[in-house]
Symmetry: D2
Subunit: 238 residues, 4 copies
């Protein structure tokens, strides 16, 4: 069974009454419950645990890491980011959610600022499937509709995604590339936009299904670990 | 269990003594046996059967179609090509092998001539994995080495692949994009280069493993069937 | 100076009073005037001319072909489509506009049905630039806003574009990949969504600028013509 | 006229007799002379100049930066790397040559280790054009042949290129994705493999032509600078 570690900053839920009422045990617990229904083995980790809950041992036992962060990206220690980075290149899947676009790990893997436009105005978001052949869209209809969400608008400063699975329509007039896949080394990465802490987005079962699909997609079997460095002996006679 | 139909032109093996000695029951049977060891359910179809063995019923019962053709591409009837085409867009996987690059179905799906360079000179081919995160490379080392194969050289007149999984080195001085993925509609397509009829390529278990991986990759769950056409009522009030 | 041939079906403007009032000399003439201001050499061709105005000589003298068609795609003769197809693979640029998504030439080059959703409801369209590094977006702001247009919605049954330059927001709730680049052989192709015949879209100078940019992009210098076929002598000694 | 700054580490040419004999004034001067013949305005900068020759003023006056480094990547100061990074995202082109794959700036923009295999064995390299529609291949034949070069082999730990223009064949049995384009922010990036300091690679006029083409490609007009951050007022009435 695929082993998922759900990492959450877990600050808003402790200080913001709206977030606390929607996610009383934290966003990570709602995602964990949701994924268990998709036959995934879950554990959680949060910023204020020792090592942010992400020791080498935890990461070695993680097939796919889910990342939610927002107000405290800078508090994530660089050496933990390096551990996560190394594991992604070795093949651990990574699902970056919503405001995680500005996390150290996502920016490091993308090579760009990952900047975007944003607005909190209780807008309707409709995530259209633009790649209906993609396993991340399995079981989803033509779109997912969220009555209220924070708006994220283009330009989103990311490399062109390897695959673009969802594009969001926002009531206020913007669009956004909201479901993007990338590969880095042997690791599969999925960025998925929705999930502001003051909306019940992770209680939406289509949103959970997308995350579960992404976990399974990113955990798929890989080729042999690449070898690098000096190879003095040619394969052919020169 | 994923249902694979292996389509083979099945002419060389009946007329060319070398091909006949390597594939006495036909290329399709060797591939079928190989795939069964990967827990896939196989059936076969050949050019000279009624409807080329590809009736609507057969195609409806096929999750993934494998295609090997060479000398008789023109004998494949256009209405059968249309049936296959429609099924691919509906989500049937398609694995096109070797000289199938010039098949009607592959050219129609690519939108290009699919022309290339070729030479029969018993050359060594080494297929390097350039995308070690891809499930099609699962279980394969850094490369697959084939002692003797037909050479295919660039330029290969295909659209840039969605994903490039293998690149071949040939002894005679050429390279070739030899493992290429595409999506068309809801269908996943994989082109895989090796497999000239006078070499024992499909007896190589790494080659079979790649085909098995590609079958599983192409059969992965899909999003809902897209809807097209006139939608007179807007989702939002105008 | 880059030589552009603007091909127009030129039927709506002769029969539909609204189209006639907006484009009294035809859509092609408005595009031609617009492009001349961008230092491009223009000529035009229409469906009801002999050979649809697209003789071999015309095509040999065309660096970039622009295509607008809608109600009479089926009247375009297959042999003319073949001529255009061959020239694109040889390196002629091709800009396909709006309802040209259903033209024979575009479907043939894409390998898909090119189906989509549509609605005529005088909706606002906002085309967001999602690739601000692309020369096709040169001189354009963050978006182009069109007060009224026909809606085209996803899923758009095309191969994933090589580059996605624009995504449209529509008032009625849909989004659309509205500026897409492709390469086929040595030819560069750009699909650009706006331009329903009953709206003054081609009088919009940002729309014209995008088309002019696309012409220049698609006409850029190419590598040597590829060679295909049998190469009996290896480059290296075997 | 496009303004190119050629940055060179300029250490090997001062200490290695072979490099010194081939590039007595440094690799940068040979590239500069070559590019001038392609109507480009060149200046140079080297590691041991103040600020590595890359002040803010220099970078503001640079349309395209070329980067050659090898033994002293670590001596490039992080604040200069940040300046270059910011300018690339703002739209300055960047051409990374050969061992520059391991430069701080390239690794930062790629988000990967950029590791590869290598061997110095005087091997023949043949760079095949796999994208003959690309302006970077303009004026080049089917391939460029270099009698002797250092070998770089796959796996090359880079993100899948936006466009793959060249693939190298090496005498010793390896292949390599040797001409790769990327976009980051508004900047166009090209990685080009050949150019070990002990071979006369930059005296080869096809190699220079590719670099000149890449400079022109990367300097092409861009869209408006994207805007990021809080946009409290929606474009549409909510």
């Amino acid at each position: 069974m695929t082993k998922v570690t759900i990492w959450n900053e877990y600050r808003h839920e402790l200080t913001n009454p709206t977030a606390a009422s929607i996610y009383p045990q934290g966003i990570h617990q709602v995602i964990a419950s949701g994924l268990q229904a998709h036959e995934l083995s879950t554990s959680t980790a949060t910023l204020d645990e020792a090592e942010h809950g992400l020791t080498e041992e935890v990461l070695q036992n993680t097939d796919v890491l889910i990342w939610w962060g927002h107000m405290a990206h800078d508090e994530v220690r660089d050496e933990i980011v390096e551990l996560v980075y190394t594991r992604v290149l070795e093949g651990m899947g990574l699902i970056v959610l919503h405001s995680g676009h500005y996390s150290k790990i996502f920016k490091k893997l993308m090579g760009t600022t990952c900047a975007l436009k944003w607005r909190e105005a209780d807008e309707k978001e409709r995530l259209w499937v633009v790649d209906p052949a993609h396993p991340i869209a399995a079981g989803i209809g033509e779109f997912i509709e969220l009555e209220q969400e924070e708006m994220y608008g283009e330009h989103f400063d990311i490399p062109a995604p390897d695959e673009l699975v969802f594009v969001s329509w926002f009531q206020g007039g913007e669009i956004f590339r909201s479901g993007c896949t990338y590969k880095r080394g042997q690791g599969n990465i999925f960025y998925f936009r929705p999930g502001h802490e003051t909306y019940p987005t992770y209680h939406n079962q289509d949103v959970i299904r997308v995350i579960a699909n992404a976990v399974k997609w990113s955990a798929a079997g890989k080729g042999a670990a690449p070898k690098y460095g000096h190879v003095p002996v040619p394969l052919e006679t020169l």
